[in-house]
């Protein structure tokens, strides 16, 4: 496997994985308030306020309108594209009372049952999923 020897190649390689958003500095900066907002749901009183009026709660955070809409819609792939990180977004799964498997499955285009069946059968193979460039 080719190994990056400079930061530009290193970062370019991180964008070469099918169906994957690596949490780079660029995404960390873009998603800062989104992730901090998700993180705030670790406190029970914040979860209550969020559940009572989601829009009012997230309006307290200086996020983009796109990020707010994606969060309200629980559109996790879009949230990843807008700088969300899954460990932060998982606080939203917990707040919604869904398991990590349920939350994760929504990003795959499969039903939760189909996703679970795939996992029981040994998970998704890396074959054909390693590189966009190499298509392998």
């Amino acid at each position: 496997m080719r190994e990056a020897t400079d930061i530009a190649t290193y970062l370019a390689d991180l964008e070469d994985i099918p169906g994957t958003q690596v949490f780079t500095a660029q995404r960390a900066r873009q998603g800062y308030h989104l992730n901090q907002c998700a993180m705030s749901l670790m406190k029970p009183e914040n979860r209550e306020r969020f559940k009572a009026d989601e829009r009012a709660y997230i309006d307290e955070w200086p996020m983009s309108e796109e990020q707010k809409e994606a969060l309200l819609a629980r559109d996790y792939n879009r949230l990843l594209n807008l700088g969300g990180n899954i460990y932060f977004l998982a606080k939203v799964f917990s707040t919604d009372g869904i398991s990590v498997v349920q939350g994760v499955s929504t990003m795959t285009g499969m039903s939760v049952e189909e996703y679970q069946a795939m996992m029981m059968a040994g998970g998704r193979s890396p074959v054909g999923q390693r590189s966009i460039r190499e298509n392998n």
């Binding site: 190994e3 690596v22 901090q36 498997v101 994760v104 795959t108 996703y115 998704r124 999923q129």
Partner: protein
């Protein structure tokens, strides 16, 4: 003198904590995952192998650390660490007791050895730390060991390289062996194995790669030091990168190791579960290359 007696590798999948806390560990789905820890649970409480302290290498999952502060390596030097509320209330497990004397000794030694680790006096600990404790010790009133949390950033890129992790392990071994108190210390590397929790590629599992990784932890080989991040990402999923933390554990065990026990099971939730118990065969690590790390005067200051 203190010494590192063994290393343990272990996934820290949150649903294992849930299954344990809700009495579901005997269910058909979870039984094979838990059964692979029966050997370790017996071994780790036996008088000869029971550790006094565990250096527990894990990653925080946006619980103690948010995006405000992102330490690459952070060592918990506090008296105790409370289980975090990760969105559904804290796990009903005992408070984790630290070992501030050894932790501060390691922290000082590492800085002198040019590993400038962040010192944490207060933090909560999430499933990354408490699930491995549950897997090893089961349902207890009080954890039977002191724990030094060592948190590694594997969330925001770039995480530390495998080589850096291995070398940190070597520095930890040097630090432990210069601690004057007679203590049996284990080091645990946690996280992994293959898994991806995000995007259309979520659910990726790579049994062959994971098992080669487990093979590579035993014996004298050091090839795993040089596995680049991109290989973890491509072959083991975006969250498979957590396996670099196992290399801190492996580095601390010295020149060669043998496996006492090994367990691998797919799936647990979205993840491949891996577990290994390693014993050093030749625990030698290279001497410190730094002025202070190799200086008797500097070492005496922190003794």
């Amino acid at each position: 003198m203190a010494r590192i007696t063994h290393g343990i590798g272990c996934s820290h999948i949150p649903v294992l904590g849930y299954a344990h806390d809700h009495g579901k560990d005997g269910d058909d789905y979870f039984k094979p995952a838990f059964a692979g820890f029966d050997w370790t649970r017996e071994w780790i409480t036996a008088p000869d192998s029971r550790p006094d302290v565990v250096i527990l290498v894990y990653n925080d999952h946006a619980s103690a650390f948010d995006m405000k502060v992102i330490p690459t390596f952070a060592i918990g030097c506090g008296e105790s660490f409370t289980p975090a509320d990760e969105g559904f209330g804290p796990r009903p497990v005992p408070v984790v007791e630290g070992h501030p004397d050894l932790a501060w000794h390691i922290a000082q030694s590492l800085v002198l050895d040019e590993f400038d680790t962040t010192i944490i006096n207060e933090m909560e600990v999430d499933h990354g730390l408490t699930v491995p404790l549950t897997m090893m010790f089961g349902d207890v009133e009080k954890w039977p060991v002191k724990v030094i949390p060592l948190a590694v950033n594997v969330v925001t890129y770039p995480p530390p390289s495998g080589n850096r992790c291995w070398a940190l392990g070597e520095a930890i071994s040097r630090a432990v062996s210069s601690f004057p108190q007679d203590l049996k210390v284990q080091i645990w590397g946690t996280g992994g194995m293959s898994h991806q929790l995000q995007g259309p590629r979520a659910g990726l599992i790579n049994k062959e790669w994971d098992n080669r990784f487990l093979d590579g932890l035993t014996g004298e080989g050091q090839d795993l030091r040089h596995v680049p991040h991109i290989e973890y990402l491509r072959e083991t999923g975006s969250e498979g990168i957590e396996m670099v933390m196992w290399l801190i554990m492996r580095g601390a065990l010295g020149k060669s190791t043998r496996a006492l026990h090994r367990h691998y099971h797919v799936p647990v939730s979205n993840t491949a579960l891996g577990h290994i118990v390693l014993e050093p065969v030749d625990p030698t690590v290279p001497p410190s290359r730094t002025l202070e790390g190799g200086s008797p005067i500097a070492q005496k200051m922190i003794a």
